[in-house]
Symmetry: C2
Subunit: 220 residues, 2 copies
């Protein structure tokens, strides 16, 4: 385990869970379907919204249109925190106290900058589309210049970030181990249901494999 | 649809998605498995962490131990924002621009207060346990006074909150509807895998039904 890049990315509680390895951070960012973006509004209070993201190299891109009343004003740069969380399961302990979730989370701190270069925006459109549904960008119609202008995307360098990984079985006292209570893990994952065709779908168009076989990582 | 309680809970972008109906807000809060808690740290920058929650009447309780370096200092009250998000699916449009997630999210603003009353903490332990795995609190060992003292839980009144619900099929221009591209929805949900017994589980203890039949809401 390498050092945390800054004090605020150091995992304070249960520091043995802290992960600062770059490859592991990137793997969590890349696997996650969505993220939560937090910032401080003009009134000094926090804001947080769910949104989608993609990583390109050392840069995290976040779709910011649903927060655009704030984000449109941040061309000069806004401090943000992004949490990217994957829930892997419920850890059932014999005591309520030792119950926990098994999860992997990355928190990124940085100054968000609005992306304004049309070529970069076009690449990010593809990257975010691929993040949600790998394979889709080859089929979907790319954005027009006007659609690109209507889209707010911000970028944050992946400099100040760390991961926290909580996994494994509960650790309990001998006294609790003797209790008449089941313990173990219920693995969880994001699972697809049966795809629903658009009511206006042309009947000659089949469901693509990247939809019918969509999946995130295997159960851990 | 009733009015937004405050300007900052008004859904600014795509305001037709805003939902201020109390029953719908509560249904989303109650169904969600986890949430994201955001606050402003001493350095003036935002923080955000994933954590678990439960609603009891008009109060949202949030487990704050993993943020305790900040939250332990907030007995006087800290402005927070909590996002509670349920992803229901991926909306595949023919254009990249009209792609979207189908989701339900509630954002709660308020002053977080640490819960210090032991009886209230004990009730919240049960409520959070039930939020994650309904039925579990009847089996798991309740917390000792010492375990209660080690736990940080904050409460936020469910006064200033709103929901945003994004659902349905893409809406596209006639030109895009004619494209040779599949469109529709891939429903998503949090799905359980096969439970894993604790390696130290007493062999005479079976898996309870609330584990083997664990589920969140049906696919939407």
């Amino acid at each position: 385990m390498s050092d945390a890049p800054t004090p605020r990315t150091r995992v304070r509680r249960l520091p043995e869970l802290g992960v600062y390895d770059r490859a592991q951070v990137e793997a969590i960012v890349d696997e996650a379907l969505y993220c939560h973006l937090a910032w401080v509004a003009d009134d000094g209070d926090p804001r947080v919204i769910p949104t989608i993201h993609a990583r390109v190299g050392d840069t995290l891109y976040v779709h910011g249109s649903s927060a655009s009343s704030t984000l449109l004003a941040i061309k000069a740069g806004l401090p943000v925190a992004v949490a990217i969380t994957i829930v892997d399961g419920i850890r059932f302990a014999r005591s309520m106290f030792e119950h926990s979730m098994n999860y992997r989370t990355v928190v990124v701190f940085g100054i968000a900058q609005e992306v304004t270069d049309p070529d970069e925006l076009s690449r990010v459109f593809t990257a975010i589309t691929e993040q949600v549904a790998p394979g889709r960008s080859a089929d979907a119609r790319p954005p027009t210049p006007d659609e690109i202008r209507q889209t707010t995307i911000v970028k944050i360098p992946l400099d100040e970030c760390s991961a926290k990984v909580s996994e494994g079985f509960p650790e309990e006292s001998d006294e609790d181990l003797a209790l008449d209570v089941w313990a173990g893990i219920l693995p969880l994952r994001i699972a697809p249901g049966e795809p629903l065709d658009d009511p206006l779908l042309r009947p000659d168009i089949p469901r693509p494999a990247y939809v019918t076989a969509w999946h995130r990582d295997d159960v851990r």
